[in-house]
Amino acid sequence: MNGDLEKELVAACRRGDTSAYAGLVKVYSGRIFAICMGMLGNSHDAEDIAQQALLKGLASIKQLRSDTQFGAWLIRIAKNLCIDFIRKRKPRQNAIDEPFEARRRSTEGYSKLRAALAELPQDYRLTLVLFYFDGRSTKSIAETLGMSTGAVQARLSRARKNLRKLLEAQGDK
């Protein structure tokens, strides 16, 4: 979506046209889910929080100061919700403790990867997940996380190396 169209949709939402928000949801749902997945470490919580973030974005869109800042603003909402969630999460609750249903699904091929991702430090996981879930662009990650592309690349490399170690420790795939 180009910037002008996004700006128009945001303006329409702010005027009360909630249906215009659907377009924004289509654009941002993947990235918001990736951020939540990266920060929370499991898809079940990430799905819930991503939904909350997108709905909260609409509910508070009139508080947005600039139509062009929608993406960064929505990302901040998602991150804040994740931080709240992490703080509320019971101490020592492991990020990979997913409900039974999710666990059952996850055995179909990715269980070790999920476990390794959950073990990864949050900032590494976030970068890695954003890379694969959101178009494999370090530039886009840099914009999303407010870092330089060099820093993103360095973090990605470290994340990969750490992930490799974790997978090796589990006896690989």
Binding site: C13, R14, G16, T18, S19, A22, V25, K26, S29, G30, I32, F33, S43, E47, A50, Q51, L54, L55, K56, L58, A59, S60, I61, K62, Q63, K79, N80, I83, D84, I86, R87, P91, G109, Y110, L113, P121, Q122, D123, L128, V129, Y132, F133, T138, G146, M147, S148, A151, Q153, A154, R155, L156, S157, R158, R160, K161, L163, R164, L167, D172, K173
Partner: protein, 629 residues
């Protein structure tokens, strides 16, 4: 493993990401053709790459589900300019809202009384929610308050929606804070002058929002074991012709085994509008002395003061306009942004060396270790080593990150006496403090206090207490948050010669009863735009005749301050670069100079060296309060 292979492996991950230049990639490929181990490692990373890609694809149905679910609920959501429904109260508390300390403090006092009244307006009841909501929805809140015991009075106006806070103090001083425009107006009656200056337009932590205060106090009391007993009575009635609820509260505290009357409070709430209209409270000390005798009257006007003249500042007042320039706003924005983006996962060890005590064998005076994983923080502070053992400690410490960390970890476990040390931990909710007894050398004192934060940020007082070491050394918080009276960008020889941006901050003196309690001073912050806006040099000057003060300021200075106005300079003399390519101050040289009462001058020098690891492996249980020594 050969050294070459180790270096190559470092780069293989970049090869998989595709971020390596073609030339470098070809060189790597040549190596791997001859090296089975590296080739195997590349293959493993490529498999990971594919696995991650497939995993992301497998997650797509979840993204689609999120889209469908959100889109199907769009009609249920009504965009709102303020938090409206009671369900959003939680959101208000969780989000950053504006801090209106003066008014909030009064409301809080009242709300605490309500909270204690389990039979009526508890914080969890809709009645409480409605009251907060009702107050927030009012265009303006106006409070007139005074305290007979402290001989203090104040009148405040504030608006949540326009983010303006105006306060007129009993001595005639007026402060008008216009946050959206980053402007602060201060009127001082003794100089009959209004200073217009910069105030940071920043989100403040919601620490003093009424509901969170109540919530926090409840948890804090519980954690601290504070023994305060409350009796609350609720009555319905009329006040000045309107239906109201009266809340009467009496509290008792325990001191040295004796129970004594702590407070009596009364508050009145308009039953129909659900807003506070009056509060009265008295607090006594353990010996029966009256400490607080306050009364506050609330009303909710449609309009608030549009400028300082509407709250009694005479038109004849001299205007000293130091309004923020666009350049200053831009610099402050960049400064803050880099400060916020400082690494949030690291171990840092800071070593202090005083010139007077340093010898050729590298004697260190103090050491501080800070662990931070983005949420949990732990700091070991060793303010000063025992002078007798200083050489010995220095020899044991070494001067590398690993040797220092190892030594520090051993010290935590030992019972050896160091001059003073303290471990502070924070997990996003509770602050744990463990202190080593000065007399016995044993870890003895333990304290747990509830201190809520907003994500990575702590309430102001605790932020200072905590001092997130890396941020503070690189980007001192004082530039953003201190109560300065004038901020501007200036150019001088130092800034020009070193390509730095110099932000000058002037502070007026603080005085009470015509005596200066803190002299005026000037701070110069030299920021380096080439190095992530790190404050490369900071100077603090005692300064006569600042923003508004007459030049004879020194005559008013109390004796205790006359000789303590010290000049100090802190300067980054060496930079480091983290694994994440971010700059940090590696070595800082501090110099202090002051005048003694006999007019002799003294100077001290101190070096601060930073050992930083932004890719740390945190020791097991390092953030576990149960593992404290």
């Amino acid at each position: 493993m050969e050294k070459t292979c180790r270096i190559i492996k470092e780069q293989i991950a970049e090869l998989v990401t595709g971020s390596l230049p073609a030339e470098k990639a070809a060189e790597l490929q040549r190596h791997m053709n001859q090296c089975p181990a590296c080739s195997k490692y590349l293959h493993a990373l490529q498999i990971d790459d594919k696995l991650l890609g497939d995993f992301a694809d497998a997650m797509q149905p979840i993204v689609t589900r999120i889209e469908d679910s959100v889109i199907s609920r769009l009609n249920d959501v009504q965009p709102s300019t303020s938090a409206g429904a009671s369900g959003l109260l939680r959101a208000i508390v969780r989000q950053r809202v504006w801090k209106f300390a003066a008014a909030a403090a009064i409301i809080i006092g009242l709300v605490l009384v309500m909270y204690r009244d389990n039979s009526s307006m508890d914080i969890t009841t809709p009645a409480f929610g409605k009251m907060i909501e009702a107050i927030e929805k009012m265009p303006w809140l106006h409070i007139v308050s005074h305290d007979n015991a402290k001989n203090y009075q104040r009148e405040s106006w504030f608006s949540y929606s326009s983010k303006i806070l105006v306060t007129r103090y009993g001595n005639g001083k007026v402060q008008y804070l216009d946050y959206p425009n980053s402007k602060k107006y201060i009127y001082q009656p003794d100089t009959n002058a209004v200073t217009i200056s910069y105030t940071p337009n920043i989100d403040r932590v919601i620490y003093d929002f009424p509901r969170s205060i109540v919530d926090n106090s409840k948890k804090r009391w519980k954690a601290d074991g504070t023994d305060v007993k409350y009796e609350v009575k609720h009555e319905r009635g009329q006040y000045q012709g309107i239906d109201v609820d009266f809340y009467y509260s009496t509290s008792y505290s325990t001191y040295q085994g004796m129970q004594y009357l702590l407070s009596r409070s009364k508050l009145i709430v308009d039953r129909h509008k659900q807003v506070l209209i009056l509060s009265e409270s008295k607090y006594w000390g353990p010996n029966g002395e009256l400490r607080t005798d306050s009364k506050a009257i609330f009303d909710y006007p449609e309009d608030g003061p549009k400028d300082i003249y509407e709250v009694g500042v005479p038109k004849s007042a001299k205007i000293l306009d130091y309004s923020p320039t666009p350049e200053l706003l831009e610099v402050m924005k960049a400064y803050r942004s880099h400060r916020d983006n400082a690494p949030a996962r690291y171990i840092v060890i800071v070593v202090y060396v005083n010139e007077q005590t340093a010898s050729e064998t590298y004697a260190i005076d103090g050491l501080e270790t800070f662990y931070f994983d983005g949420i949990n923080r732990r700091r070991l502070e060793v303010l000063r080593f025992d002078p007798v053992s200083q050489q010995k400690f220095s020899a044991q410490c070494g001067d590398s990150f690993n040797s220092l960390l190892k030594w520090q970890r051993e010290q935590e476990k030992s019972e050896f006496r160091i001059w003073m040390d303290e471990i502070i931990m924070y997990d996003g909710q509770y602050r744990y403090t463990q202190r080593r007894s000065k007399s016995t050398g044993y870890w003895s004192h333990f304290k747990k206090v509830y201190v809520p934060s907003d994500g990575y940020r702590l309430p102001m007082g605790d932020l200072i207490f905590w001092r997130d070491t890396l941020s503070e050394l690189g980007w001192p918080n004082s530039l953003l948050h201190s109560g300065h009276d004038r901020t501007s960008i200036v150019e001088n020889d130092y800034s020009k010669n070193n390509n730095l941006v110099c932000v000058e901050v002037l502070y007026d003196e603080l005085s009470r009863d015509n005596k200066v309690t803190l002299p005026a001073k000037k701070r110069l912050y030299y920021l380096n735009p080439q190095r992530d806006y790190i404050c490369e040099r900071q100077e603090i000057h005692p300064q006569p005749g600042l923003a508004q003060n007459p030049e004879d300021w020194i005559d008013k200075v109390g004796a205790m301050w006359a000789f303590s106005g010290r000049f100090s300079v802190g300067e980054v003399v060496e930079y480091g670069r983290s694994d994440l390519h971010q700059w940090f101050p590696k070595k800082i040289l501090m110099r202090f100079r002051w005048e003694n009462p006999d007019q002799t001058t003294e100077e001290r020098k101190k070096t601060i060296t930073v050992y930083l690891n932004t890719d740390p492996e945190f020791p097991d249980g390092i953030f576990d309060p149960n593992n404290l020594p």
